[in-house]
Symmetry: C2
Subunit: 198 residues, 2 copies
DNA sequence: GACATATAGTCCAGACCATACCATACTGCT
DNA sequence: AGCAGTATGGTATGGTCTGGACTATATGTC
């Protein structure tokens, strides 16, 4: 046992921690607002991190010595966070230890489908239509993203992060959305046919 | 607007609420423990609902008048929850209004991949191997489930729920896991080739 | 009776979350 | 200059969630 390598730090690092550390490591010193924008342009497409968290988390990481903070004295009083040597070490340690948790797939539509037998056939049909609209839209957006129709607008910022997202992580989103479209089309055509009988 | 049909209930109903209501509606009066087992056998495969929640949520629903509670006077002092007329109405209203939220895909492995450029090539390769193991295992388990190798063991309980899961919702799990295997195989063979360049 | 395992439920601190709110900066119009 | 409107940037609040660790009852079995 004794899994913790750091002799009981105040709190464990979460996915959010590594997200923040990773973005700052890749993009350099950042404000929470910048983190928020980078997240929205990339991983936020399918894993929502509430922005309040992206303001709170860096403060925690400062306490843990993984980031340092400077703050504008006037005006917006922006906070600028910079990664420390220990912060870099933390990321690399994390990357060297592959995650073993299974994927969490939280989908309200799927939950409704799970209970579709309690409603009407029409409800189920309407659900399939709504879900198809959602997933087709997501698919189209991802395909645009991949072609780079976006990510250029706005600013030069986040170039590395957006590029890396586009090439490496976004393809999973595409695969997922294609699967979802296929799935809901089947639901639409076959209904909840309870073809599980037999 | 005025979306709420019930004149400002203390709190809104969440996915968990509908999960609890739906299970009780389908399976009849249930204890939290039974809910927990039904969840574990079905939707819990990819959407984790911490068990503490399945003990707390019914109490809230009682306050809202959607369930009633009886409690054993002695021994385990189990709580048995029964759905009310208003509870049934709440479910049907929910089913009649298709969800419009996008899927949340929370995957620690994918997050690591998103930052794979900050680590070594070996780390990335190891990550792909680990993820392949996870997703292949999940795929195999789902395929067993579909064939009905499980769900019979243990008890007769949850027959309807498990059947419905198997026929209707599980196929999405299968599609997802197949996509994931395909994805991670590509990562394994191509590495994070940064083939995003041009 | 002693021990192990499965069943059933409770508790809690800390983290999370949505949401509303506050403040500063820029932009264009008159 | 004055003002409105919008985008930028950040904070506050309180309920909710979370993951353990913990307690206790029942069943078996040596």
């Amino acid at each position: 046992m004794s899994i913790d390598t750091t002799a009981a730090p105040p709190t464990r690092l979460t996915s959010t921690s590594y997200l923040v550390l990773g973005l700052i490591e890749r993009e350099g010193p950042s404000t929470p607002y910048e983190l928020k924008r980078h997240v929205a342009a990339t991983i936020g497409h399918f894993w929502s991190f509430p922005h309040a968290l992206l303001y709170k988390e860096p403060a925690r990481l400062v306490e843990l010595g993984l980031l340092t903070e400077e703050r504008e004295a006037e005006g917006r009083r922006r906070r600028l966070f910079t990664i420390t040597v220990r912060g870099r070490a933390a990321i690399r340690a994390w990357l060297a230890k592959p995650a073993h948790e299974p994927t969490e797939l939280r989908d309200a539509g799927l939950l409704q489908l799970f209970f579709a037998d309690l409603g009407s056939t029409d409800d189920c049909r309407a659900l399939a239509v709504a879900q198809l609209a959602i997933h087709r839209a997501a698919l189209a957006r991802y395909e645009d993203d991949r072609r780079g129709d976006r990510g250029l607008n706005g600013s030069d910022a986040a170039a590395r992060t957006v590029e890396h997202w586009r090439g490496v992580t976004l393809p999973m989103g595409l695969l997922y959305e294609r699967a979802a479209v296929e799935f809901w089309e089947r639901v639409f055509w076959e209904g909840v046919a309870d073809d599980a009988r037999r």
